[in-house]
C-alpha cells in the first residue's frame, strides 16, 4: 500500500486526481501540488485567475456571551474595535512570544461569533490552545474544519468569475463593492456561504466558506463560470511562489516555534490597546529592546533556488553565518530569484549585499523591501 492511501482527503481530492494533478502529502492531506506546472500556474493567477482547494485548513469559532474576550486573549489586534464584517491578520503566541500559528480573525456581521481560519499543520494544537482559553470565559469553541469547506478564487478575473454565482451583499451592493479584508454572509450557487475578500497570493480575490457536502458542485460551478476567463485549478506549488512574491509568511518557514512576531515584522510598534493577550509582555519587551534578528527579503541573479536552511554570510569568504533562509523561489512575476531570511540585526538594511551558500558555493544576494510584488490598483 502506498503512503498516499493513508493521507486524509478533502471533498475535492477526487476532482484534483481526475484533472491530472500531482498529489502530495501536505500537513497529512493528499493535496494537489501542481496541475499544468508551478510557473505557468503562477502566471495564470497574476493575469487571469485560479481556483484553490483550501479545505485542509482549519476553521473554528467562538460563540457565546464572552466570545470577544476569549478571542482577545489569543490575538494582538483589538477585537473590540473590529468592525462587524471585518477580518484581520494575527497570530497565536505563547507566553514567551514565540508563534504557534498565524491566523485570520473574522468578526461576524450579526455579532454572534468570532471565526478563525488557522493552518492545517497547526490545527490540532491550535484547538487545544483555543479550548484552554475558552474554558476561562463564558463561550463555546466549535471546530468547523470538517463541516465547512473552503475554496479561494484569486486573480484579476475573480470578481467576474464569482459574482454571477453569489448573492449580493446585505446592503444590496454587488460583490465588487466588498472591501478587501471584509466578508459577508450570503449564498454561492444558492448555498449559504461566508464570502471573504482575502487571499494568499497578492491578487484580488475571495475565500469562500460553505457546507462541505457542496464542495464539488461549487468547485465545478466556479470552473465553469470562469472557463472563458482562463480560470483553472491551481496547486500548492504555485500558491507558495505567489504568497512569497506577495511577501506573505508561511508557517513552518517565516514563522515557527522559535520565531516571534517582532522579528517577523508583524508587530513593529508598541501595542496601543489595553487588552492582554497571550505573549503580550514578551512581545512588548522585544519591541522595546529591538529584535536581534529580522526577517528580510532578498533577490539574486542566480538561477539557484534559495532553500530553507541555506546560510547567509556578510562577504564571499567569511565563516560566521549571519542569516538563514526561510523560503525561496524563482519569481516568474519579478523575473528574478527571490527569497526570505532571518538575518542578524545590523546586516538587515535594504541594499545590503549578502552571500548565500548554495551547496558549498557562495552567490551574492541583495536585500530588498518586502513584498517583492504588489499588484497595480
Amino acid at each position: 500500500m502506498s503512503a498516499a492511501a493513508e493521507l486524509k482527503r478533502t471533498p475535492l481530492t477526487d476532482l484534483h486526481a481526475q484533472a491530472g494533478a500531482r498529489l502530495v502529502d501536505f500537513s497529512g492531506y493528499a493535496m494537489p501540488v501542481q496541475y499544468e506546472g508551478i510557473l505557468p500556474e503562477v502566471e495564470r493567477v497574476r493575469t487571469q485567475a485560479g481556483l484553490f482547494d483550501l479545505c485542509h485548513m482549519g476553521r473554528a469559532r467562538f460563540t457565546g456571551p464572552q466570545r470577544e474576550e476569549a478571542a482577545q486573549a489569543l490575538v494582538h489586534v483589538n477585537v473590540s474595535k473590529l468592525k462587524q464584517g471585518a477580518i484581520r491578520y494575527s497570530f497565536f503566541a505563547r507566553e514567551d512570544g514565540t508563534t504557534m500559528d498565524d491566523v485570520l480573525i473574522y468578526r461576524d456581521i450579526d455579532g454572534e461569533e468570532i471565526f478563525f481560519c488557522i493552518n492545517a499543520g497547526n490545527r490540532e494544537r491550535d484547538l487545544v490552545h483555543m479550548a484552554e482559553v475558552a474554558s476561562r470565559f463564558d463561550c463555546t469553541l466549535q471546530d468547523q474544519s470538517e463541516e465547512l469547506a473552503m475554496i479561494a478564487i484569486q486573480g484579476p478575473a475573480s470578481v467576474r468569475t464569482l459574482a454571477p454565482l453569489c448573492s449580493p451583499m446585505p446592503d444590496g451592493e454587488g460583490l465588487a463593492a466588498l472591501k478587501y479584508y471584509n466578508f459577508y454572509r450570503g449564498t454561492v450557487c444558492d448555498v449559504p456561504a461566508m464570502i471573504s475578500r482575502t487571499g494568499y497570493t497578492g491578487e484580488d480575490g475571495f475565500e469562500i466558506y460553505f457546507p462541505t457536502d457542496q464542495a464539488p458542485a461549487i468547485w465545478n460551478a466556479m470552473l465553469e463560470s470562469g472557463k472563458d476567463l482562463g480560470v483553472t485549478p491551481i496547486g500548492l506549488g504555485a500558491r507558495d511562489t505567489l504568497r512569497l512574491e506577495a511577501g506573505m509568511a508561511l508557517y513552518g518557514h517565516e514563522l515557527d516555534d522559535t520565531t516571534n512576531p517582532v522579528e517577523a515584522g508583524i508587530v513593529t510598534k508598541p501595542i496601543k490597546h489595553p487588552h492582554d493577550f497571550c505573549g503580550r509582555a514578551a512581545i512588548e519587551a522585544m519591541v522595546a529592546a529591538g529584535p536581534p534578528r529580522r526577517l528580510v527579503g532578498f533577490t539574486t541573479e542566480s538561477k539557484r533556488v534559495p532553500r530553507q536552511g541555506y546560510e547567509l554570510f556578510a562577504d564571499a569568504e567569511s565563516t560566521g553565518c549571519i542569516g538563514t533562509v526561510c523560503s525561496g523561489s524563482p519569481s516568474p512575476t519579478c523575473s528574478t530569484t527571490v527569497g526570505t531570511a532571518y538575518v542578524t540585526t545590523g546586516h538587515h538594511e535594504t541594499g545590503t549585499t549578502l552571500y548565500l551558500d548554495v551547496r558549498g558555493k557562495r552567490t551574492p544576494v541583495e536585500l530588498v523591501p518586502l513584498p517583492f510584488y504588489k499588484r497595480a490598483r
Binding site: L39, R304, V305
Partner: protein
C-alpha cells in the same frame, strides 16, 4: 508510457545509450516530469572523469535540488553545453535534445533494462 528499449537505466532515474565504447547519458522522462519546472542544471566539463553511481552534476527545479548520478564510468568526451540554457529540452525531449554527456566508457554500474525500469517506476507510484 514505456521507456525506450534501446536504453539502460539507473534506479535513480538516469539513462544511458551505449553505442560501442561511447555512452550518451541523461535523465528519464519520469524524472523530468517529476521535477517539472526546471531552473538550473550544472554539468561537468569535457575531459573530466565520471564514476558509475557517483554524482556528476546537479539539477534543480522550483521545489527541489537533486544530484545527478552517472550510470557509466569513463571520461567525458562531449557535454551538451547549451542544455543549461534550454532546460525545456529536458522536459520535452529527455532521450533526444535533453541528452547531457557523452562518455568514453570504461565501465557501467548496475543498470536496468527498460522493462525493469518501468516496473520500478510503476511500483513506486
Amino acid at each position: 508510457m514505456s521507456s525506450p528499449a534501446d536504453l539502460k537505466f539507473t534506479s535513480s532515474h538516469e539513462w544511458a545509450r551505449i553505442e560501442g565504447d561511447v555512452a550518451t547519458i541523461g535523465i528519464t522522462a519520469h524524472a523530468a516530469e517529476s521535477l517539472s519546472d526546471l531552473v538550473f542544471l550544472e554539468l561537468p566539463e569535457v575531459g573530466d572523469s565520471v564514476t558509475a553511481g557517483e554524482t556528476f552534476g546537479e539539477i534543480e527545479s522550483v521545489k527541489a535540488v537533486s544530484d545527478l548520478k552517472s550510470p557509466i564510468s569513463g571520461e567525458i568526451a562531449e557535454v551538451n553545453a547549451s542544455l543549461p540554457d534550454n532546460l525545456s529540452n529536458v522536459n520535452n525531449d529527455p532521450y533526444g535534445e535533453g541528452w547531457m554527456l557523452k562518455i568514453k566508457l570504461t565501465g557501467t554500474g548496475d543498470l536496468l533494462d527498460a522493462a525493469a525500469y518501468d516496473k520500478l517506476v510503476a511500483d513506486a507510484s
